[in-house]
């Protein structure tokens, strides 16, 4: 499983922005042309480096939003006190170049051979690598059933909403809206808790493979509750973001 990607040296390369789209008022997806991209697996991330004219550089990691074989894409949430995300969401234009290297990471990944069933639990922009997994399932023709639970503040904060709502045939997405709900909302209206996970998650006996991605506190809660429901800790893969 690990193998080839390990020996290759990750060098910085120029990428050109070929498309940009707003997912929400503060979240933007950038599609990138990366000559010589070696390919990636669903769930991996890449590093971006920005360099100012005086040589000052800032680097950040972003999950890859696209499935293997699709153009490389990242989805970036604008953090007002951040340094790189305001540039990527507010300044960068189609045709601009930036430097990146990758793909990085080989644990929080899924491929058809890993099977299912899959439970994907997202908090906020933690949905990005999980979206790559759903797209990879479709592209590979896998029939591994997916249940996704996605926690967001409000419905307009849901990233990839049209895409997630379009999935049928073995992909079921549930939302938990923590701050405000539209009139007539029938989904969950509270933060993710043990009761909600017990309703949404596969029974532990089906030995699901779990991917949890979101802010630290969210991931701590979800992973802990899943272990409490009898999930094997070794099958609960987590990715947390805490810094800015």
């Amino acid at each position: 499983m690990e193998g080839t990607a390990l020996q290759r040296r990750l060098t910085w390369q120029a990428a050109t922005v070929t498309a940009a789209a707003w997912e929400t008022p503060s979240v933007r997806t950038l599609e990138l042309a990366v000559p010589g991209w070696p390919g990636h697996r669903a769930g991996q991330h890449l590093d971006v480096r920005l360099t100012a004219e005086d040589g000052y550089a800032a680097e950040r990691s972003y999950s890859i939003a696209s499935a293997p074989g699709e153009p490389v894409a990242i989805t970036v949430e604008r953090l007002e006190d951040g340094e790189v995300s305001p540039y990527l969401t507010g300044e960068l234009r189609i045709g601009d170049t930036l430097e990146l290297r990758g793909p990085v990471g080989g644990y929080f990944v899924w491929a058809e051979a890993d099977g299912g069933p899959l439970l994907l639990v997202a908090g906020g922009s933690g949905v990005v690598p999980l979206r790559a997994i759903i797209r990879q399932r479709r592209r590979s023709g896998s029939d591994a059933p997916i249940r996704m639970l996605y926690s967001a503040r409000t419905l307009p904060d849901v990233i990839y909403r049209d895409e997630l709502d379009s999935y049928r045939n073995g992909v079921a997405v549930s939302y938990a809206l923590t701050r405000a709900r539209p009139p007539g909302w029938t989904g969950y209206a509270r933060p993710v808790d043990a009761g909600m996970l017990a309703e949404v998650a596969w029974p532990a006996g089906e030995e699901p493979l779990v991917f949890v991605c979101g802010p630290t506190g969210f991931v701590e809660t979800v992973a802990g509750e899943l272990v409490g429901l009898g999930y094997s800790p070794g099958r609960v893969k987590t990715e947390r973001f805490g810094g800015i």
Binding site: E2, R49, T51, G106, G234, G243
Partner: protein, 205 residues
């Protein structure tokens, strides 16, 4: 790093090195006041009554300490800067723990490397020279409080001169090795040594 960097049109950067921190922040890092968490799975919670720290060779125990025995060893308070491969650095963090010199000093025999092993199955590899000579601790307090499980409690390694993934959380012991062997993240493409000042993030850096 290779070659000249590409200038990013319109990028100026906001987060310069804070005053007083010059020379303390490795390349590609930024200073944070928070304490972000990075781990690959659920946080393990081993009761202290079942906790031990062991030094092993070839899978067999050379020496083990219970929690109480570990606490009875001489401890040191250290204030160090830490650097995570995800790019945050945190300055002047205060820890209390037992020097690995003290623990390894009670075990016979030479080794070139250690592989730290942990609750939850995590491992990481380190040269013996990097965990001796007053450069590594078994830390059980952070900021004068018992180490939070989220941050690796009850005890984690503290090896501040290397990227922080080498400071294994929930550590339960070290295996003495003659030859270097990759641990968990090292198997997934991260650097075998991990010197932040040389920006050794990934294999080949």
């Amino acid at each position: 790093m290779e070659g000249m960097s590409l200038i990013s049109r319109g990028f100026h950067g906001r987060r310069r090195t804070p005053a007083g921190a010059e020379g303390r922040v490795p390349p590609g890092q930024y200073v944070t006041d928070g304490f972000p968490v990075l781990s690959a799975g659920p946080t393990p919670r081993t009761p202290l009554t079942e906790w031990t720290f062991s030094v092993r060779r070839g899978g067999s125990n050379l020496r083990s300490w219970s929690w109480a025995e570990m606490l009875a060893l001489p401890a040191e308070t250290v204030t160090v800067d830490i650097h995570c491969v995800t790019r945050w650095s945190k300055l002047d963090t205060q820890w209390r723990g037992v020097s690995l010199d003290t623990l390894l000093g009670q075990v016979e025999g030479d080794a070139g490397y250690v592989l730290a092993f942990c609750d939850g199955g995590y491992t990481t590899n380190l040269p013996i020279a990097d965990v001796t000579g007053g450069r590594a601790w078994l830390a059980c307090e952070y900021d004068e409080q018992p180490l939070d499980p989220e941050h690796g409690g009850p005890a984690r390694l503290l090896v501040p001169h290397l990227y922080f993934w080498k400071s294994a959380k929930w550590v339960r012991g070290v295996e003495l090795l003659e030859h270097d062997e990759p641990g968990f993240w090292e198997t997934y493409g991260y650097h075998m040594y991990g010197d932040p000042w040389k920006e050794q993030r990934y294999s080949g850096d």
